[in-house]
Symmetry: C2
């Protein structure tokens, strides 16, 4: 197969867009997909200064790389979750990436704060991943707000978002559907705008981009994510995509034009507490739907020392 753009030998085949690219044209394709996403969903303006949530994995490092290449002011934020056999390596990858490029990486060291996720998870009311999400969202928002950034950028790719869309539709979770957008506005004072510039690119494309750009990332998934339902939805969509290339993007993009048909109901919000208004957490001051935010409630439970009955991890 020849490169769709320059006719050199193609190295990356993309059945979903009926194209193939040589390494240079592929990288150009990826950059253009970011630009198109930015334009299509109005993600980034000239005044923006972004904080990129960096895990050390392919998506977030590629995102940071691409944003900088495109001239966007973007610093990184790494949260050390304190997960044995995962966090040390992922932190190293994130730090090396930043150091090699002279980029600024902020680090939140949860173990040093006595907030390592494996220590907090038994006190969460749901799964390990769900508790981890509460902790990450807290520090993502807090670091972005305190650092004076205009938005938080995350490395969610098309596979992540299409898989989540499928899961939300199978359960008809109207509230989650209403909020499943490439750009989530700052709904409350102190709540950061969140954007997903990789939305037009899939997992394979991000891995290929990292490989061809020499980005060294942590390949292993978090050990706690093994067997997670979200991965099942991705697998199912990959199967359908292999039968009908292009389905995944179409599914996601056409949903976006129908998103307003879904309205948030009870049980949707950072604290999943209802349709109440945003307020400030009385403990940490971050935006919350309840008197005390879910992160502070988690810490309070951990301080009391009574583990809940939640499944510690989807793998167990």
């Amino acid at each position: 197969m020849k490169c769709t753009r320059c006719r050199a030998p193609a190295q990356v085949r993309l059945p979903r867009i009926k194209a193939g690219f040589c390494p240079d044209c592929f990288k150009l394709y990826v950059e253009r997909q970011i630009k198109r996403a930015v334009k299509q969903f109005d993600l980034i303006g000239p005044e923006d200064r972004l904080l990129v949530a960096v895990s050390g994995g392919k998506d977030s490092l590629a995102l940071w790389d691409l944003l900088v290449k495109l001239g966007v002011r973007a610093d990184g934020l790494y949260i050390d979750l304190g997960i044995t056999g995962y966090s040390a390596t992922s932190r190293e990858k994130a730090q090396n990436f930043a150091d090699q490029r002279g980029l600024s990486l902020r680090v939140v060291d949860l173990p040093a704060r006595g907030e390592a996720v494996p220590g907090l998870a038994p006190f969460g009311s749901r799964s390990f991943c769900s508790t981890c999400g509460i902790v990450k969202r807290h520090y993502f928002n807090r670091a972005a707000a305190e650092g004076g950034y205009s938005a938080l950028a995350t490395g969610h790719n098309l596979d992540d978002e299409a898989g989540r869309l499928l899961g939300n539709l199978l359960r008809w979770q109207d509230g989650y559907l209403a909020k499943q957008a490439p750009s989530l506005p700052a709904e409350a004072p102190g709540l950061m705008r969140r954007i997903k510039p990789l939305i037009r690119l899939d997992e394979y494309e991000m891995a290929a981009y990292c490989f061809l750009s020499g980005i060294d990332y942590i390949i292993e998934e978090c050990p706690h994510a093994r067997g997670a339902t979200s991965l099942k939805y991705k697998q199912v969509l990959n199967h359908i995509e292999s039968l009908m290339p292009g389905t995944k993007w179409n599914f996601y993009a056409e949903f976006q034009s129908r998103r307003r048909r879904f309205t948030p109901g009870p049980g949707v919000g950072p604290d999943e507490a209802g349709t109440g208004a945003w307020r400030q957490c009385s403990s940490c001051g971050q935006p919350s739907w309840l008197e005390v935010c879910s992160f502070c409630r988690l810490k309070q439970k951990a301080a009391l020392g009574t583990p809940s009955q939640a499944t510690p991890s989807p793998a167990s």
Copy 2:
């Protein structure tokens, strides 16, 4: 495992409702699901006289059996599609079923009318199954209308409908979504109301019901359906159901309460011709969205003898 109802040894396990039944209680469960569907979706009234579309397969024969058991006036309609290695056996199963129970089966013999589907399919604009659907819908409606029935009942089960829902959602086909209901009203003069009383029962349950009731049905699928996309959606949902029992019904039932959010657009209707009004086909007099209905257009093309470029079958 013991029967959830009578504590005898259970022979049928139903993880999706966290129950198991002995043969007798299982049959009772199936009957009750029909009754619940009838009530939930207002499918059948005391004045109704139904025509059941019977293929010789498990679903349609079980449906006919159950309707008669529940005291509903229901005759059968078998359409001999003229498919080698399939139609002869399926016709025999349908006829034997009717004869053994003294029920009335109407038969439309397409080969005798020079309308065998394999002969018409090369002139259809889409797949074999799509052409077959056009022919069947034509005779289903015509036979029901001419026979003075009040509605047509089909054996679509939960797997069929949930799989179709998934396919329609992946493509966001608003028009099809709007019409995907267990009861479709008679929208035009001469257009029959169509009902799907098996909607609360899945494929496994229907097979078990036939086995335990001694209903002899054709086990083989139509050879032209092999590899059909609709089967892929069912497989995908079965996989998800095995991970999260109960998902399929929830997915379908919750959709029904949101169905009105979807509105038919261009390209949806018996002729997929647009949002126009119903009229009478100038050739056969059946309800149509165009001057000539899709069935008569198909026959006209076949008479002219110019095959179209459509894929003859999803398996090919």
